[in-house]
Symmetry: C2
Subunit: 414 residues, 2 copies
Amino acid sequence: MDLAPSNRRRFLKHPAAIAGLAAAGVDPSSAKTPDLDAPSDGERNLHEYGARSHYETAIRTGALGGPLLGFRTPLQNSVGIITPGSLHYIVSHGYDPPDIDPRHHTLMIHGMVDRPLVFSVEELQRLPSVSRVYFLECHGNTAPSPLRPSVTVQDTHGLTSCSEWTGVPLSLLLNQVGVKKGATWLIAEGADVQKHSKSIPIGKATDDVLVVYAQNGEALRPEQGYPLRLFVPGWEGINNVKWLRRIKLADEPYMSMMESTKYAVIHTDGTSRWFLFEFGAKSVITRPSGGQQLPTRGFYEITGLAWSGAGAVRRVEVSTDGGKTWADAKLQEPIARKAHTRFLFPWNWNGEEAILQSRCTDEKGQVQPTVETIAKFLKIDLDYIRKSSTMVADFNAIQPWRVDRSGKIQNALL
Amino acid sequence: MDLAPSNRRRFLKHPAAIAGLAAAGVDPSSAKTPDLDAPSDGERNLHEYGARSHYETAIRTGALGGPLLGFRTPLQNSVGIITPGSLHYIVSHGYDPPDIDPRHHTLMIHGMVDRPLVFSVEELQRLPSVSRVYFLECHGNTAPSPLRPSVTVQDTHGLTSCSEWTGVPLSLLLNQVGVKKGATWLIAEGADVQKHSKSIPIGKATDDVLVVYAQNGEALRPEQGYPLRLFVPGWEGINNVKWLRRIKLADEPYMSMMESTKYAVIHTDGTSRWFLFEFGAKSVITRPSGGQQLPTRGFYEITGLAWSGAGAVRRVEVSTDGGKTWADAKLQEPIARKAHTRFLFPWNWNGEEAILQSRCTDEKGQVQPTVETIAKFLKIDLDYIRKSSTMVADFNAIQPWRVDRSGKIQNALL
């Protein structure tokens, strides 16, 4: 299907198309003489597909050694709720994104179905589509790096980002293949070298899961699964299988390597928990935040992000005195479900030490916990979290930032 | 103010930060040995700030000769409502964007005020902020290129785009300087070589105008006014002064070159109209659209964009039979005021000729007109529009696309 007449590098003289004054028409087909006013090749390329100012230097940071690679979004520079595609966090498992030609990529849906089907990317793009703003987050976000005073919000919370995603509801595709009675799980598989696979319960799959092909108005970026990924709103990043090529309906989970080992959570008593899915209520102040410096006493807008896998953010409270008193922050509207919500709070810094923190309440009434509450719930003591580098999955503790008298800001968690 | 600890090219070994299993802590400061699993320099750069797949080739097109330059958004590839910054339309007036160091850029507000003030970019970023999704459009969008059958929706409507913009309410800044009684206009001036200036009535300025510094979660792009632009929601693009450096309060408009000549509208009786501001109700089908080809009979989702300078889109109707019958399209929610709204409409193509068009109704009850209605209102005849290349400013006629029996799609307006 040829529905994209792009790359038609046409730079025709056409002086009347914008001018507000009457002008003689020019037949574009006759306009092939060089135009001295036209941009040079370099300028032309930037006009074709732009770049940011060379004064802007915020980057994803935090490549991790070993088999896992995580590149974190510079949340200290974030504004609004959209993360630009170029700065969306990346977690991969030790390999580069596959280089996939979308004309040859397909999605097969099979297993416990009446009619196994194979869809091309173009066929999927012709189907009824949905666009939604959703956050995405790695279940390892926020731990264990909060344990050092020097960390920034990029270090602590940079494995979450938020975009407008566009794709086809998975329920529509499942209707087309006809899911057999007894199919309770689906196993999604990517086209990466490791064939990353993830089991997802059928109830979620038929609720709000999408097969997405676009992010923020253009095709998915390669590191986000170009040309297709599964999108599982509000659930741990690991479920959102990139470079999606296969969905198999089954009557049990697949117990793939990632879900049974790396993304299981080992408890201190030796047991482990395999299937964690939905994120709780979470928030963090992004500015002012760790590593930043307040240059002077006076007015600052405290701002940050709140989100919940359960749905909409209902309330964000901010404390500037280490949790003694709290006041409601303003939430930037419209508030989308399972999306970052920007909160804003006016603050006058009087030059004294201050501890800044935020607390999110979501539509289910879930309140973001303190680290003490989490430790109690998990039956581990704070010292264990403090001294080890063990990750607490889905860690959503309230994050305190300490402003000292010089205006220097440091992590104050543990 | 040092609130952006970016460019801290730290790529430390830190194996435990993502892994789901317990691991011994690694002191980042001791981890300077080369990591064979780490990405190469080239990969690292793409991981720091990403790029799209090399298979994606949609570009802004339509550089115009002479003193005006317009680069149009490839709307035929658009999905959702966000336009990526790299593909946001550009209209400039014959020069490249100035290369502005934000540390040395300031905004002065003066004229009929109690306390003239100069703000640095950092000072503005410390003030209470607002993030909103808004469309932007050139008043010359959609004319006169619709007159040829071969045009694409990028040619006809590509001078509109939509982003999440973040900035400071101008009303807040005007409160700080204290507007004197009798001040009825402000004149905004850019730092470009032409010092583009635009007069705006004080009523709009204190309503929803913003001084913006960010677009889609990152700094404004250079061609969008980096580091500051005025944003005047729902009003013609010319008002949204880029590279904003000065706002002067006055008791009359400035009658700047752009507003009194190029952006005035000459009527056929020799009179002209100087101050046009707010766009009316408008929509266009972006897919399937001109220049595209339907490969086969069967199901297609007709999709497009609707918007209005007056506020929210309330309704979009679609006709597939040249306007004989109309049916309501589904609007993608949430619907933001003065923003693009995505509409979706299921269609089965039976292989016969079809004429596809959309009609927008906004919150004020304004209905998108036909070209015949516009000609009648402006007291010009269709032949005049058809034969001349004269632009009709703020042209918002219903746009018909003809699908012939071979599946080829062409412009059917005039």
